[in-house]
């Protein structure tokens, strides 16, 4: 059984020492969130994740959800855990105080989300989806809808869903068939089938609020004719309590590779009563509004699972005695040396660790920018933060889930045969993490978003939000001898990223297929280089304390490991990008 200890020290380090989290209190509305307050939140979050959620992770995976006659039962213990979670106020931490929320900064919420994902991703799906529905409704709903639904979503007595996918359309939502027919009272009647609906039906809350994309008959064709609706499982009665059963029912649940304790439902809408959120045919606008937070949250899933896997693998590598060190026995008094003496084991552990800690810094940077974009009094600062979010969101979603998956795979490898059996829980991380590369916009779509939409927007202005700080940092530190072994590789990788960016922008303008062919490699190059910058900065923070504090010493060494062993991938990626897509596209379809 794996155990989990929330990496609170590292989290605080990233939040305060690297990202300057203390200045969050200078943003209007965040004045009260001093270090003490936030530390207390993190500690309490660690407690519930370690003690309540994590112990249910493997049992939930073994048992899965059960479906019978339209009713879904979550695994044993989930209902109780959810009650504890809700009573502790965890559904409301990142919500608007006007609706009963605690209004905590996104930067802190992101750390809490990471802990939840490490402890029990399946469980995290339920409040996670509710939060997505909350964001869309908060941003675009009418006052009446907000008043009726938001307090319940915030306090967690009701949960939410996002109903997008249909049997024949996932990525290409323009083909959607679910229709919404306007009624005389201003409401709509929804009919159609939605699939892959996480938390579509379950026994954790007294009501479920579905946010549904559908088309109003007679509207524009394709994606421009999609509207967003709210349709609850139970229609609220005069007192706002769950009343009449609405025409939305769960037809079945999916049998999946991972996140088995999360119910993934087929939802049938049969003349279900619903209300429009936002303007007719502007449903995608509301979707885009929540997309940045949601995609960051999915990236953090990859990060959280990688952290859990690393903790299990590091503990195992220290206690499992097997074979001797190549340079001679390290613990001759024992039957064998622990795994940790082997360079290849260290390679795997440090790969996990370097990705995890680097990705954490990136996630918190982005989350802090979400806070700045929302709260900063200066418009220029808000725009800069929005630009940063626009360009990094696809990178965070795809890169964090990709390297997260790789890291959990390494976790299995370190365990050997014991990783492959279910008992140790290492393979569950791999299975659970696999979906994060697919949902909320498959990673290939993220790459296209990056090169096709974000990169060319405003002649590359979004890129500036990242490229200029990195360029300035390299420029400012190029003669800093203490950082020379870090700035050198960073500068080289950044040069590759610049070259690739100019190349993709140029060839992509003339031949879109070329941009498409480069997209995934480019996104990874982008992610690796961004992490290199963050590692250099972390090393800079830690260097002065490296001799006195093993934590900081480990930081500096991990930074070096990252530069020496992981960053060189950027060279290969640049070669692949420059090689282009001609050969791929030369294949006749029939030859596949």
């Amino acid at each position: 059984m794996p155990t989990y200890k929330a990496p609170l020290r590292d989290m605080r380090y990233v939040l305060y020492d690297v990202m300057g989290g203390d200045d969050l209190t200078s943003l209007p509305g965040y004045e009260d969130f001093s270090r003490d307050t936030l530390d207390a939140v993190l500690e309490e979050a660690a407690k519930i994740c370690e003690e309540v959620l994590q112990p249910l992770n493997r049992s939930g995976d073994e048992e899965g959800c059960a479906y019978e006659n339209g009713v879904v039962r979550t695994p044993k213990g989930f209902k109780q855990a959810y009650d504890t979670f809700r009573d502790g106020g965890w559904t409301s931490i990142a919500c608007d105080p006007d609706y009963g929320g605690q209004g905590l900064p996104a930067a802190v919420n992101t750390l809490v989300e990471e802990m939840i994902c490490s402890a029990n991703l399946s469980f995290g799906m339920y409040p996670g989806l509710s939060h997505g529905a909350y964001v869309a409704l908060h941003g675009y709903g009418s006052d009446a809808l907000k008043k009726a639904y938001l307090p319940k979503l915030v306090d967690g007595t009701w949960s939410g869903t996002m109903c997008l996918t249909e049997p024949h359309c996932g990525t290409d939502l323009g083909q959607m068939r679910t229709k919404a027919v306007p009624q005389e009272d201003g409401s709509y009647r929804l009919s159609g089938t939605k699939i892959f609906i996480s938390a579509g039906e379950h026994d954790l809350t007294e009501n479920i609020v579905h946010l549904v994309l559908a088309k109003i008959p007679g509207g524009p064709k394709g994606i421009k004719g999609v509207s967003l609706f709210l349709a609850p499982k139970f229609l609220p009665d005069a007192d706002g309590k769950p009343g009449e059963r609405n025409g939305v029912r769960c037809g079945s649940i999916e049998h999946k590779m991972g996140i088995k304790a999360s119910s993934t439902c087929v939802m049938n809408f049969d003349d279900a009563k619903g209300w429009l959120i936002g303007a007719p045919h502007k449903g995608m606008q509301a979707m885009f509004a929540m997309m940045n937070t949601e995609r960051l949250a999915v990236g953090v899933q990859g990060l959280g699972l990688a952290e859990a896997s690393y903790q299990g693998a590091a503990a195992y590598a220290k206690e499992r005695l097997q074979g001797r060190a190549l340079s001679g026995a390290k613990q001759p008094d024992k039957a064998a040396d622990p795994l940790i003496v082997h360079p290849d084991i260290r390679r795997m552990l440090l790969t996990q660790r370097a990705y995890v800690e680097g990705c954490r810094a990136l996630a918190i940077w982005a989350a802090k920018m979400l806070d700045v974009a929302k709260k900063h009094p200066d418009e220029a600062e808000r725009v800069k933060a929005e630009d940063f979010i626009a360009i990094t969101t696809p990178v965070i979603k795809a890169f964090l889930t990709d390297v997260g998956f790789e890291a959990t795979n390494l976790g299995v490898q370190i365990f050997g045969g014991h990783g492959y059996i279910r008992e140790h829980g290492m393979e569950q991380f791999v299975r659970d993490g696999r979906i994060a590369q697919i949902y909320e916009g498959a990673n290939g779509i993220q790459a296209l978003d990056l090169v096709g939409r974000k990169m060319p927007a405003h002649a590359g202005r979004y890129l500036r939000a990242l490229f200029h700080p990195v360029a300035d940092y390299i420029e400012a530190n190029k003669s800093n001898a203490a950082l020379a072994d870090l700035i050198g590789p960073l500068g080289k990788a950044f040069g590759r990223l610049q070259q690739a960016t100019l190349h993709v922008a140029r060839v992509g303008m003339a031949r879109p297929d070329e941009a498409g062919a480069a997209a995934s490699d480019y996104l990874r190059l982008f992610g690796l280089t961004t992490l290199a910058y963050l590692w250099a900065r972390m090393a800079e923070v830690s260097l002065p304390h490296a001799d006195s504090d093993p934590f900081h010493k480990a930081k500096v060494l991990t930074a070096r490991f990252y530069m020496e062993r992981l960053l060189p991938q950027t060279g290969a990626l640049l070669s692949a990008i420059l090689a282009g897509g001609k050969t791929m596209m030369a294949f006749e379809e029939a030859a596949f």
């Binding site: 202005r461 500036r464 490229f467």
Partner: protein, 772 residues
Amino acid sequence: MQINKVAVIGAGVMGAGIAAQVANAGVPVVLLDIVPAGADNRNAVAEGAVAKMLKTEPAPFMSKAAAKLVTTGNIEDHLDLLRDCDWIVEVVVEKLDVKQALYKKIDAHRKPEAIVSSNTSTIPLANLVEGMPQSFAEKFIITHFFNPPRYMRLLELVTSPLNSADTIKTVTDFCDYKLGKGVVVCKDRPGFIANRLGVYWLQSAVVLAFEHKLQIEEADAIIGKPLGIPKTGVFGLLDLIGLDLMPHINASMASALPREDAFHGMNQPLPLVERMIKEGYTGRKGKGGFYRLNREKGKLKEAIDLATGDYRAQARARVEAVDEAGKDLKKLLTHDSAPGRYAWDVVRKTLCYAAALVGDAADDIVSIDEAMRLGYAWKWGPFELLDKIGVDWFVEKLHAEGGLVPPILQAAAGKTFYRVENGKRQALTLNGDYVTLERPEGVLLLADIKLTQKPVLKNASASVWDIGDGVLCFEFTSMMNSLDADIVMLLNQTIQLVQKNHKALVIYNEGSNFTVGANLGLALFAANVAAWSEIEQLVGLGQFAYKALKYAPFPVVSAPSGMALGGGCEILLHSDAIQAHAESYIGLVEVGVGLIPGWGGCKEMLARWQAHKKTPKGPMPAVAQVFEYISTARVAKSAAEARDMLILRDGDGVTMNRNRLLFDAKAKALKLVENYQPPEKPVYRLPGPSGKLALKMAVDGFAKLGKATKHDIVVSEALANILTGGETEYFDELNEDKILELERQNFMKLVRNPDSLARIEHMLETGKPLRN
């Protein structure tokens, strides 16, 4: 015979404009009008017209000097002034009796060989000369200008059998060479060519928009860009012309055209338009037209709803038929929607009418196409449009609908209206044969050269053509002719090539603008990704290439037309000579996007002003003058103005007719080949820090007056750094490489400034400068 002096009688908008264009050509002109009743100043009308033109934008005069060539007067006291005029143009009200009375007066005062013409747009020549002596009729023709006469290139010429060949040639040559017009010979038929077809087209497009229940934004989006028609479309154009003018034009067409003419079918009363005219909504000159700017609602753009007749917010013109069709005209014309049916209806009627004009308004299709291109700014004339659509497809569709097929369309069965045979353009005639199209003497076009040649050199952004007699022509081919690394690289290659095998180089192209300057999109993108070394490298490469151009061992002549801005202006400044189209708009406009000229523009302008004999002595005058031009992004609005700014020097030439530009530039280059010596390297003596301080104080003064913004101050300081020579003293002699280095340094400083990047982005996205 040659025309050395001209008289224009009638100083309305057209008459005054014609007089201005004659003056623009450097030819003295007399402008007369009536004596206004009870006026103290008996010349008030003509004088007022000239005064007004000096304030009009776009300006009728190309320079202030041109205005001085106009002598004003009135037709009671000053008819004597006609005595030495070689050409007298009548531009008075469209009333036969008024005109004929005037002709009698003119005839009494003109010299016998003087040519007389009318600018009438509706009255047949035969009627005009009725009752006039034979000697007058022999010298009388119609010269029909388009408004505004300086900018519209069409001149319709109607002659009579009495005219001698010399009379016709004299006027044709003058209008072609001196006034820069495309002269199209028309038959003596109502409305001649352009307005005959143009009025029919406009009227049909309006009537059919009502019939198909379209909104005006949709109609303009359809009968606009997709068909190569200016984006004002139909309703936007009517707003420009004036709604109140249309009933008059229509009535005169209706009375002049035979009963069987298709125009009558379209000449229907439009109650909404009549109401608008009555209420003063006559277009841009009135309270508004089909479109208006509602100032009560904070400059809200509004459009008339054709169904209700009320103004409403202007909608973004998205028409599915247009979007889906893209460049496929057939798809647009067959789109199953109201816009698609409207497109077909308008195009069908217009093209059939155009076809019916062959043999009626003109003898050939070429005149009709030319008239519509030059007179209505259509990208393709009707027969070129038919070739694009496919004549057989068009005719088949006409047949299917049971419509009549005009003879020229029958003659075109299985053919195209234009073809290229043995490198010569040919056009179809009514009997189904082709006739070869010969360019007039002195016209040389790249478009023709391209029919028979492949480029000597070529990359993604430029091509080099062999234009004969050892001269190569460098052509920009990039998007909007913007300058980029590819152009700079090909320029270097071209310099090598000319040196080896040729005698001279001409830089010229046939785009609507010579170039609007460097590709800002690429520059901004590179700046956004902090690719500083790439940017600096490109600045350096450009400096190197332009310098190589300047000191190449062969002459280089640049021949701009339209805009030559920023890096485009800098190319001109590094050429041995400039042969500019009169309509050239030249300037160093970099500060508008928060930058400074970095490809030698500063050093060349300094050198020009330092060398100019009228520049006062001392360290500051030249520097201050150049600083003023560049810091205000001053653009010369004609070749004549560019000469005032010393962008053009003595020996540089101006060509009035766009089509003659390349021929003139080539001739100039060949002339320079004899005993060619590259220019001497200039030596600069600049004021240094004290001069910089003086410029800074001037800018601070402007800032205090609110005329300079925060970032203007930053950009001006960088410019002052360069122009005053950095840390130099007046006694030091600097070479041009030193100035280039300062240009580079200061350019790089500015391109890193977020306020400059904001300016570039704003310019790219809105087309307007950001005043931050």
